[in-house]
């Protein structure tokens, strides 16, 4: 059974995504399977479901809607040839079709080249060119390799074998464009041995061919006046140089991008090849470029999949680090919950029970997603070990500040660190974080003393403050994901909203209030809430 694909173009060129999962998510958020950056695309915009051979698209309550063949839909079954657009009818199209990365792309190569071959008589030359059946075999083999996600090296080697046999030339090299330079992918001589790039390869012939914009170029070094200035070529007695730029098939949106170059040369003169052979070369150039393009796409898709899998592993480890068994003490009860807005995020908390006090931290690392999560995990480790080492709060804050300022990771953090003693005495240090709230019955007070955020100003100084809790009082530590939550009209929940909702409510209930406030859009930032109840 064929796996269907979605084809679309973005800033990285033509993309082909196999819909081989049961669900494929599309949206602006980086954790989606297909990430689109267009304006109007919601973070989790739509989902493509696969049930056997039936595919359907389901809008994920996106802000601006999902359009199928021009009509806005909530849910619809997809048929081959359907056009999806996210966010508006002017958005770039996602084309739902049969998998042409592997199957149909290779088939078209086979059929096109075979039809070219049938029209043409065999090239003449000192070496007898290969039989058509062998060429067919090669192409079928290449098609099979592509279907297996064949490596680009196999395609390149196959291309060299075929072109050397077809042309009867002596040496062939394939160069692939990488980081703006032509790098040798593989070289082969007609007798089947590998060849390396050497001084007799004319880089000038290559750049002439690329600049000419034509499908291939042939230089007869003995007739071509310019080539007489290429001493390396003349010394070796090389008479013919064939350069075939491999260009990505041009589309309406973009011109044919240069993928690489096939370079063939020989001591045989150009005159032995006829006009017919040139047409054959032209066909090979086009088809080989398409094969290389497909192989590169398959390669990229593989790398992207590996990266996604790595990320899933990282997210699991991160969740493990963040899932702390909160200590419960005779004089203190702790509850906490975090809702990251991506799979992982920059909010974290930690709590350590020492014999004379309880140490608690909450922090928010700037930014979101993986970059924030890596820094969060590091800071959590530092804070945890410093708590255990009974370091003072101002010294921990100074240490965090020094660490972030010197590591030049471009991240900073807001944090509240506190120590609660059995007699209710509270020592806290607020480094640019949302103010902690003390709740006594229906009365809510903010702890207002604060210091600079950590990680921005190397010379910052930190000092802690004190407070005394009465039995039954609670201290609540939120992150700004709660206070900055916006409703659909852009109003923020705010500290006042938080103060109004916290009395007599649990951590979970407060978070639910915030989520309800910002519904239907999901959290824009990581939301974390931690509560310590004294006595």
């Amino acid at each position: 059974m064929d796996v269907m694909v979605l084809k679309y173009s973005d800033e990285n060129g033509q993309q082909t995504i196999a819909l081989d999962r049961e669900t494929t998510s599309i949206g602006r958020s980086p954790d989606q399977h297909i990430v689109l950056h267009d304006r109007g695309v919601s973070r989790c915009h739509a989902m493509i479901l696969r049930e056997g051979s039936v595919y359907s698209v389901v809008d994920q309550q996106s802000t601006h809607g999902t359009f199928l063949n021009g009509a806005r839909i909530e849910r619809a079954v997809l048929k081959p040839g359907d056009l999806l657009q996210l966010g508006s009818l002017n958005a770039p199209g996602l084309h739902f079709q049969a998998n042409s990365v592997s199957t149909s792309g290779a088939h078209s190569s086979v059929s096109t080249l075979l039809s070219s071959l049938s029209e043409l008589r065999r090239p003449v030359g000192p070496r007898r060119p290969a039989h058509e059946l062998e060429q067919l075999n090669w192409l079928l083999r290449a098609a099979r390799q592509l279907n297996q996600g064949g490596a680009i090296d196999d395609i390149v080697l196959g291309l060299l074998h075929l072109t050397l046999e077809l042309t009867g030339l002596e040496r062939g090299l394939v160069f692939l464009q990488k980081d703006g330079q032509m790098r040798l992918a593989r070289g082969l001589s007609a007798d089947g041995t590998s060849v390396d790039e050497d001084s007799t390869i004319s880089r000038r012939a290559m750049s002439n061919a690329i600049q000419s914009g034509s499908q291939f170029s042939v230089s007869d070094t003995q007739k071509d006046g310019m080539a007489l200035d290429w001493p390396s070529v003349m010394d070796k007695g090389i008479r013919s140089i064939y350069c075939i730029p491999l260009r990505k098939p041009a589309s309406a949106k973009e011109p044919g991008q240069l993928l690489g170059l096939l370079y063939l040369d020989s001591q045989i003169g150009v005159g032995t090849l006829t006009e017919v052979d040139h047409r054959l070369l032209e066909a090979i150039a086009t088809e080989a470029a398409a094969l290389v393009d497909h192989a590169l796409l398959a390669d990229e898709e593989l790398k992207a999949r590996q990266a996604r899998e790595e990320l899933i592993v990282a997210a699991d480890i991160h969740r493990g680090l963040m899932s702390i068994a909160l200590p419960q003490l005779p004089y203190a009860e702790i509850h906490a919950r975090t809702i990251p807005c991506f799979a992982i995020g920059g909010d974290f908390y930690d709590a350590v029970a020492l014999d004379d006090c309880l140490c608690v931290a909450i922090a928010d690392v700037s930014g979101k997603g993986v970059s924030a999560a890596i820094v969060a995990a590091t800071l959590q480790g530092i804070i945890h070990s410093q708590f255990l080492a009974r370091q003072s709060l101002p010294e921990i804050a100074a240490l965090l500040n020094h660490f972030l300022c010197t590591r030049k990771v471009g991240k900073y953090a807001t944090t509240v660190l506190l120590k609660l003693f059995p007699n209710g005495r509270l020592e806290y240090i607020n480094c640019g974080h949302v103010q902690p709230l003390v709740i006594s019955g229906t009365e809510v007070r903010s702890l207002e003393e604060s210091n600079l955020i950590v990680g921005l100003i190397p010379t910052a100084k930190y000092a802690s403050s004190g407070y005394t809790l009465c039995p039954g009082e609670r201290i609540l530590l939120p992150t700004d994901g709660l206070t900055e939550a916006e409703d659909r009209d852009g109003r923020v929940f705010g500290e006042s909203g938080l103060i109004a909702c916290v009395p007599h409510r649990t951590v979970d209930e407060v978070l639910e209030d915030v989520l309800r406030f910002s519904a239907p859009s999901p959290a824009q930032d990581d939301c974390t809430l931690l509560e310590v109840k004294y006595g």
Binding site: Y412, I453, I457
Partner: protein, 121 residues
């Protein structure tokens, strides 16, 4: 929409007028580059007018502070002017208000540099 930056010169003071959103990846980088460009001209007096900034995320705040500290390190004095209410709250909470020189309007920020007095009071 990302940040837009308009550069003016007034009585020996360079004024960067920033508007739009300062967020990770677009506006933040622009504002840093603009401050760097302004520093290359050798200016020692810089006013950043934030009146048109309608949103700034945490990364934007970091960019602004980095731009500020790198300017200071090069001997350039920087003043911020016309913070929106929300930005001002953010500066208070993060205590960055104790680091930046903040003025309610641009003329006061420019005037604070020297004996220069605005022509019309």
């Amino acid at each position: 929409m990302s940040a837009k930056i308009n550069i003016r010169h007034m009585e020996g003071v360079t004024v960067l007028e920033v508007s739009g959103r300062i967020v990770l990846g677009d506006g933040g980088v622009t504002s840093r580059d603009s401050v760097q460009d302004a520093l290359k001209t050798g200016t020692r007096k810089l006013v950043v007018d934030m009146g048109g900034v309608n949103y700034m995320d945490s990364a934007g705040l970091g960019e602004l502070t980095n731009a500020y500290t790198s300017a200071k390190a090069r001997g350039c004095d920087v003043k911020l002017a016309r913070l929106t209410r929300r930005l001002d709250d953010l500066m208070q909470i993060t205590k960055l208000a104790t680091i930046f020189d903040i003025y309610p309007d641009e003329m006061e920020a420019v005037a604070s540099f020297s004996n220069y007095q605005p022509a019309v009071r």
